[in-house]
């Protein structure tokens, strides 16, 4: 059993023993975030077809579909693979990112018309993810057993949000190193008491100005995980100043598909 299952068992146990109101008081903010991490991660992999719709202030939109595969086998550092399916002019472009703990992440991009694979620098987490309102940072696990040590957490209050009973948790970078690399001076996260997923997140910049808001909804069961493996199937990130937003819809969301060991290499990219 991995950490996630132990924790979920703990949650279940607490629920049985203490009843609904009692267990919320049992968790510290940090524990809730560890449970959040557990709820987000799979054991082996996550596979989905993502439809990314970018919508500008005037309602004009661009849609791209990508095949997205995440390698969750390493509990702290993830590997991701992405292949563009549409529109036509970007079809076949594929991308691999390998997170590193100490150095810059590796990012490789394969350009089919040039038949070339290029490494691109992954020097900042704050860079936009493929032109969306999400940054690379948003796809990393920022909280939890490992990453959480760089942050301080506090439960601000308990409230109902978007139909969920939630804990409202504030996350603040705890170290100067972390402050230097993150784009967020502060996050306020609404965590569902039911399934520990964040349903709503506010992102504040280093001047403590709210600049992005993310909502997660369309929760549903996914294949390949435990019985009650619950995931959001839609993420919406809005950049407040520009009014630009990105909606990511998840289709064919499957957990723990076996991974080819080749998948996250430069060579695999060009073979598609």
């Amino acid at each position: 059993m991995n950490l996630r299952k132990i924790l979920l068992a703990g949650v279940a146990l607490a629920g049985i023993l203490g009843g609904n109101t009692a267990y919320s008081e049992q968790y510290t903010a940090r524990e809730i975030m560890i449970l959040n991490e557990a709820a987000r991660k799979a054991d082996i992999s996550e596979t989905a077809e993502l439809e990314m719709t970018l919508i500008d202030r005037d309602g004009r939109s661009r849609t791209r579909r990508v095949l997205f595969i995440l390698d969750d086998t390493d509990p702290t550092l993830r590997k991701s693979y992405m292949k563009f399916l549409s529109p036509r002019n970007v079809e076949g472009i594929s991308f691999v990112q390998i997170e590193h703990a100490a150095e810059d992440n590796d990012r490789w991009l394969y350009l089919p018309s040039l038949r070339r694979t290029r490494r691109i620098s992954g020097n900042t987490k704050t860079d936009s993810f493929v032109g969306t309102d999400f940054s690379f940072e948003d796809f990393e696990i920022l909280d939890g057993t490992v990453a959480g040590t760089n942050r301080d957490y506090e439960i601000l209050r308990v409230e109902e949000k978007m139909g969920h009973e939630t804990w409202v948790i504030e996350a603040i970078p705890a170290t100067d190193e972390e402050r230097a690399v993150t784009g967020y001076g502060r996050r306020v996260i609404w965590i569902s008491q039911e399934h520990f997923h964040a349903v709503y997140t506010e992102f504040y910049d280093h001047d403590d100005v709210l600049f992005k808001v993310m909502t997660a909804d369309n929760f549903g069961f996914v294949e390949g995980g435990d019985e009650n493996e619950y995931r959001p199937h839609r993420l919406t990130m809005e950049t407040l100043k520009t009014g630009h937003q990105t909606v990511i819809n998840f289709y064919d969301f499957v957990l723990n598909n076996p991974l080819s060991s080749q998948m996250f290499t430069r060579e695999y990219l060009s073979r598609g």
Partner: protein, 770 residues
């Protein structure tokens, strides 16, 4: 008793009541001064229907109506940790300045670099962190040299200059922005030299400079005018009453501006000047009439009664002349037209009420003084009579000389240039001028024309063919003198392509659409999505090409615009079209309106004068005669501008408004007096003499005092103010001299019926050829 007699009796019979009620009215109107606002941006000043404005609006609709401010830093080398730190700090400080768009600041610490290296492609900020050592700084220097999007554009070729530019939101307040930018720059100044430029900086430098200078020089001008009045009238009353009229008129006009929510602008700062001349002129005429009346209780009443018709006529024509500025399709000038009309009417009302009331009280007190009755002809009177007589006796000669001058003047008028060349406005050591030249020399310019290339469908800009056409257009424009460099998405793509191909310096050809999409994706994967928003629109349907200009001459700007327009009309296609924008285009469009407005304005003003004067005198000849000094003055002034290469721009345009206002006074007073004398004596020579000592004298005093006052402006350190001073003085002199010298001759030759009414005169004209 006629209306004017009963009116004059009413005013002079109850002077205290008049004074008190006028004080109350002044307080009420003056309360509007508190509501006066200042507007210092150019927004919305041009009509929306203008094709140039429309094309600019189309670009603004896509890329935003944002202008730029630029801060240049110069040092022997900017690649030094301390200097680079300043670049980073200033870039950061700028984010907090009001009106600056925080994520559209370009500097070494914000722009992305795309470079190939042994393992692939690196996209990232040039200065992820500020270099701490000389070696790190040198590495940065090398990176800059390898990037053609930055080398020579963001950093000078020799590495001794770099620029931090920031986009500014629409509707910015130019004065606030200007001060905020300088506040930042002053903090970091030295040992590096800092230069600030950009459209908001230029215009604020001009407007602020004019305002600052006039604030000092107008009071000085008023003092000189007072001295002039003292010389003319040799009495305290002669000084104080015109000044009182001026001050009250200004309070009324500016107060009404406040009540009507008309903001103060660069143009309306000329209003006090206009009122100084007009209001004081009305009082001068009144005083001269007053001095020529026999002394006694009745003196003011009869002077007022006599001058009233011409004062009203003068006031109405001047007001309409001022209002004729409304034909300008530039908002600032239109607002000025309204304010100036109110101002002229204020001056008229004040000179018909409180001024005669005060005059009545003063002259009543002075009753037993030596100042009794119309004085004997003075030295000045005799000279004025002599001039009139000379002109009368040499009528043909005088008129021919005037015609000769006019012919030469027309040559000059044809040479008048329009538009505003910023550089010519400033003295050699002016900050904005120096900065502009440094930017031109170091990084290929500080001003620009934007060209928007638009396709017929989404993704048009992602086509290799579109990019090829854009590149060719850019190459064509870069060959033109006055263009520093050009920039568009095509440049960025080439840079990326070069990096991907990995062969530095090799000619990269982007020849298929998929390749374009992939390069863009490559960049998007690493940059932030805002990176291109200034170069392409969301749908990739439109792209912006920025043509950086190293010339400040509006003639060059027009030429480049014409070339670009011609090129895009002929070569762009089949589904592509081009629009033009940027502040330079706005100025070009404005020039068109200044010229068009000017011509319309002159024609309107002339028409108004002819009609009103013709109606009042019941004679078309009177109308035509009245405009002669005005037309002459304006024509010769324009001619001088043409010969000296002075441009017709907004400030100089206002001179016509002033000129018409003042010049028509001269004509009307002169013609009215002459007509009256003729109907009394029926003797042209005697009438001329009498007119000389009254109207001519008033015209002379008026011209003299105002010229004295405006001569102060020529001391300004600021060229537009200097030129304004010279031109207004010149126009006044020309019009004053025309009334005094030309009229005796011209009227003698023309022999209009409204003056030569009597039988005897007609007979006389029968044997004196016309």
């Amino acid at each position: 008793m006629s209306f004017r007699d009963s009116y004059a009796s009413a005013i002079t019979g109850h002077p205290i009541k008049v004074i008190i009620s006028m004080i109350i009215i002044t307080l009420i109107i003056g309360s509007g001064l508190g509501d006066l606002t200042v507007r210092t941006n150019q927004d919305g000043d041009l009509p929306k229907s203008d094709p140039m404005v429309q094309t600019k609006d189309r670009i603004d609709g896509v890329f935003g109506d944002k202008t730029e401010i630029m801060i240049g830093i110069q040092s022997d080398t900017i690649f030094r940790p301390s200097t680079l730190q300043k670049v980073a700090d200033i870039s950061n400080d700028l984010r907090h300045v009001s009106y600056v768009v925080p994520d559209q600041i370009r500097s070494l610490s914000t722009v992305n670099n795309v470079v190939p290296n042994e393992w692939g492609l690196q996209v990232g900020e040039f200065m992820k962190s500020v270099p701490k050592t000389a070696e790190e700084a040198e590495t940065l220097n090398q990176a800059v040299r390898d990037n053609k999007l930055v080398q020579g554009r963001l950093v000078s070729e020799s590495g001794d200059f770099t620029v931090i530019s920031a986009k500014v939101e629409e509707g910015y307040d130019q004065a606030t922005l200007y001060n905020a930018i300088y506040e930042i720059v002053e903090q970091y100044e030295g040992p590096e030299r800092f230069y600030v430029t950009g459209e908001p900086i230029f215009t604020q430098e001009i407007d602020g400079g004019i305002q600052k200078d006039t604030a000092v020089l107008i009071p000085l001008a008023l003092l000189l005018i007072m001295a002039g009045l003292l010389i003319c009238f040799r009495s305290v009353t002669g000084v104080l009453l015109p000044m009182l009229a001026v001050v009250l008129s200004i309070v009324w006009a500016m107060g009404m501006m406040g009540h009507l929510s008309l903001p103060q602008t660069a143009v309306s700062s000329a209003l006090p000047l206009l009122l100084v001349t007009i209001a004081s002129s009305y009082t001068i005429h009144l005083l001269i009439y007053h001095n020529n009346e026999r002394s006694g209780d009745d003196r003011t009443r009869s002077a007022l009664s006599r001058i009233m018709p011409s004062l009203i006529m003068v006031g109405v024509t001047s007001a309409l002349g001022a209002f004729s500025l409304y034909v300008f399709e530039i908002l600032m000038i239109r607002e000025f037209a309204i304010a100036a009309t109110i101002g002229v009417f204020s001056a008229l009302i004040i000179n018909l009420t409180i001024i005669p009331a005060i005059l009545q009280i003063i002259s009543r007190r002075k009753k037993p003084s030596q100042d009794s009755g119309p004085s004997k002809p003075t030295w000045l009177d005799r000279r004025l009579i002599a001039v009139s007589m000379y002109s009368f006796k040499n009528s043909k000669k005088v008129v021919l000389v005037y015609l000769g001058i006019l012919v030469i003047a027309f040559i000059g008028v044809s040479k008048v240039k329009t538009g505003l060349d910023f550089l010519n406005l400033f003295e050699a050591d002016n900050q904005a001028k120096v900065a502009f030249n440094v930017f031109n020399e170091k990084i290929g310019g500080a001003r620009f024309i934007n060209v928007m290339v638009e396709g017929d469908e989404q993704g048009a800009v992602q086509r290799a063919e579109t990019l090829r056409q854009m590149r060719e257009f850019q190459n064509y424009m870069e060959r033109q003198p006055g263009v520093g460099y050009t920039n568009s998405i095509a440049d960025v793509l080439e840079q990326i392509a070069e990096s991907v191909e990995g062969e530095r310096g090799a000619e990269v050809v982007i020849d298929n659409d998929k390749q374009v999409a992939e390069y863009l994706m490559l960049y998007e994967m690493s940059g932030s999505p805002g990176d291109f928003s200034d170069l392409v629109d969301y749908d990739y349907r439109r792209a912006k090409i920025q043509l950086m200009l190293t010339t400040s001459s509006p003639d060059d700007h027009k030429h480049l615009y014409d070339l670009a327009k011609q090129y895009t009309d002929e070569h762009l296609g089949p589904s592509l079209r081009a629009d033009f924008g940027g502040d330079v285009i706005l100025w070009l469009a404005q020039d068109g309106y200044v010229v068009k407005g000017k011509i319309l304005n002159i024609l309107m003003a002339i028409a108004i004068i002819v009609v009103i004067v013709a109606f009042s005198f019941k004679s078309i000849a009177a109308g035509l005669l009245a405009i002669v000094p005005v037309a002459f003055g304006v024509t010769v002034t324009f001619a001088i501008m043409g010969f000296f290469g002075l441009r017709l721009d907004m400030p100089t345009s206002i001179i016509t408004g002033l000129a018409v206002g003042i010049g028509i006074d001269f004509s009307i007073h002169y013609l009215t007096r002459l007509k009256k004398e003729m109907s009394a004596t029926n003797d042209y020579e005697r009438s001329l003499a009498a007119t000389s000592t009254t109207s001519s004298k008033a015209v002379l005093f008026d011209t003299f005092t105002n010229m004295l006052g405006f001569s102060m402006l020529t001391l300004s350190q600021f060229l537009p103010v200097q030129i304004f001073g010279y031109l207004v003085s010149l126009t006044m002199l020309l019009m004053g001299a025309s009334a005094i010298i030309l009229y005796p001759a011209l009227i003698n030759i023309v022999r209009p019926k409204f003056i030569f009414t009597h039988q005897e005169t007609i007979q006389r004209s029968a044997y004196e050829p016309a």
